[in-house]
Symmetry: C2
Subunit: 419 residues, 2 copies
């Protein structure tokens, strides 16, 4: 069998462990020296392929590749660049295949979410049509945890851990101050279409009355009266109320709560910030003193407190993608299959890309309590193993030692790409 | 010498290590069994003394007291309750002294910031006037790091570490996305009057060009044109810009930037949120895509990544306060004295309370770069040792095991207090 190179790229929003998948891919590829030549990584994701900016990972030290397992962000650069459909822009796919052909690339490993799964599928199809068949394997990644057919998505477990810990910590803070000061704390978390991240905050609670007292899910239509009642109830019962709100919380008509047409002093639409909006509601109707936090990138980059389970799975899925390629697979994605909750047992499975692409997995209703503000025992049982274990990075003078790569590019062989 | 009880209370905003000082006090007190009876802790700070709600710390297990060293928040409850001046409300001080007398309390250890140092001083003075002299010792604590006469304040080092780590992590995130997406990231941090916390974010940078590219200090008047120029410069040079803004950033006329009279959709003053305000400015004038985060309580409660140095000092200062009491000291505060930067060497000193009360220590100008947007080498040398070492809590099923106390109250002996 001919020796061919492997192309790997990171796509979309990054995670605390996407680089760990990259390390898994690169390390596994070295185990097939007769069949895999070099691993090229796209500089800034798929743009690196279009622009023929291919990073030669063999120029990085072994230590740097190891270091990727502890480094958040996307070490090769990621991008938000959605490939157009074949009808709209066939030329883009043709360009990709030409670059792959010029560099003897036979394996396309794409590390991303739902959109990327779609791109990955199209690359597989187009390359066959163009007579240069490429095995396209999708490596799952998304903190949103919304890919179907896998138990969970790498990145999610670490964000879930960060959010659950932050909720518990902030709750201890407000609990100790609430006698004379702040009564309501609101934490806004990511998850535009699915409430997985918000839901994971439920792990902060051990006993009845523990925070979070109220979770807002995109899956449950927001009702201001019911929300304010629940806040009041919690303050009266426990002295304070901790709210965890998914940025995707929406009203019954499907509009984002954070985009209700309000204008700020400059006349702009409200600049994101569901948390300050909810705080305003609470102040106006209940008069409680509040604090709010918006974790934003902090949650998505918090490698300092990553989940060991998440890290292990991120590495394993990267390795599994290479193995699948070696087994001749095409247009598939390695998945995590959960075998049991306690103890948590999982193995690697596979899913065909046409069943993954462009589908969103929302929180099932049975994971959300009847009142729509909490997580059921079944939900907790789902979340709990995903945050298990602490994968700490190394530190140097009080700061985590994160890896920065050399990112040496391979000499170009194609015409420049007209963007 | 007569055996007398010790009263300890937590005051004002809590920190990741205020409970470690409490543990230091409680453990040290047991070393003087002939002179110190019980340690009573105020339930919700000084209110616990006024209301005669005294927590009997001897009813807690040794393990729980040990656990305090790893637990954020204020385990006995804190409060924002500023004692009035003697002229305005002498009765309040008299009540305190009566409760102390009724419970044979001879030592008053107050764990707080500048306001609390003032209260502590007054208790010492009033008790002498009332013929029931109490030794009042202030245990320093404030994440704002603005107490004078001490190298730093317990709580600050851990918040500094959290903010520096979060800045480095978020910077890796935006750096990997900036080719096609977000160009500016703004992190708002605490510190209403002094820029210490914002300044500590400078430790995120290792090399020229590293984030943070721009820090906004309360000590430097905000100038929109200069700010926007610096953002543009950073985006053009490095592809992105990370801004760390102290909530206390103000214009030249001394008004908080976050309180410039803007009104939101409800007609309220802008609900906190300097970060969204800066984001609005950047969008309006530069058009860059941005993200912003407001860490709020998350930074103040982040015990999961506390500084070992900070923890050690918090415990030591609690112990030192007891030792000072045993040495007959009164109206003083144990301090941290820095002996050298590299290696960091420190010892416990003392400061008289009249020189501590109601004074704020701002960032010295020599710690801030000439352009007002960065931290000098001298500033870095100051900050660096304070974040050294990782004091991790124990974990249980993926979550930090934080201690909750029984908080058993001592039977009351006084008349109810009329609030």
């Amino acid at each position: 069998m001919k020796k061919r190179n492997l192309f790997y790229a990171q796509s979309g929003g990054v995670t605390p462990v996407i680089n760990a998948s990259a390390a898994g891919v690169i390390e596994a590829a070295t185990e097939y020296p007769a069949r895999i030549g070099k691993v090229f990584a796209g500089h800034n994701g798929i743009l690196g392929a279009l622009r023929e900016e291919l990073i030669d990972t063999s120029r990085e030290t072994r230590r740097a590749i190891q270091g990727l397992k502890n480094t958040p962000g996307g070490a090769f650069g990621s991008c938000r660049y959605k490939m157009k459909s074949l009808e709209e822009n066939r030329a883009e796919y043709e360009r990709l295949i030409s670059v792959f052909r010029a560099h003897n690339i036979g394996y396309f490993l794409y590390n991303g979410g739902g959109d990327s799964a779609d791109t990955c599928l199209k690359v597989s199809q187009m390359s066959a049509q163009m007579g240069y068949p490429i095995q396209a394997i999708h490596v799952p990644k998304t903190i949103d945890n919304d890919l179907p057919l896998t138990d969970n998505c790498p990145g999610f477990g670490s964000v879930a851990k960060y959010v659950a810990i932050s909720t518990r910590e902030a709750a201890l803070d407000i609990e100790s101050m609430c006698a004379t000061s702040t009564k309501v704390f609101i934490l806004e978390v990511m998850g535009r279409h699915a409430g997985w991240i918000a839901g994971a905050s439920a792990l902060a609670a051990n006993e009845r009355g523990d925070a979070p007292h109220l979770i807002l899910f995109p899956e449950i239509a927001f009702d201001q009266r019911r929300f304010l009642n629940k806040v009041t109830q919690s303050v009266e019962r426990y002295g304070y109320c901790v709210v965890v709100a998914s940025e995707g919380a929406s009203t019954a008509d499907g509009r984002l709560l954070s985009d209700q047409g309000e204008r700020d002093a400059f006349g702009h639409a409200q600049l994101g910030g569901l948390a300050p909006l909810l705080a305003g509601m609470i102040k106006e109707h209940l008069g409680y003193k509040y604090h709010w936090a918006v974790a934003d990138y902090l949650q998505r980059a918090a490698r300092h407190v990553a989940s060991q389970t998440d890290l292990d799975q991120a590495i394993s899925l990267g390795r599994a993608a290479v193995k699948l390629a070696m087994e001749g697979a095409n247009a598939v994605m390695p998945t995590v299959e959960r075998r049991s909750n306690k103890p948590y047992r999982w193995r690697i499975g596979t899913a065909p890309l046409h069943k993954v692409a462009n589908r969103e997995k929302k929180m099932p209703r049975r994971f959300i309590t009847k009142d729509g503000f909490g997580v059921t025992a079944a939900g907790r049982a789902y979340f709990e193993p995903l945050i298990a274990g602490e994968a700490y990075p190394n530190y140097d003078r009080g700061m985590p030692r994160y890896t920065r790569l050399k990112k040496m590019l391979v000499p170009k062989r194609c015409e420049p790409w007209e963007e």
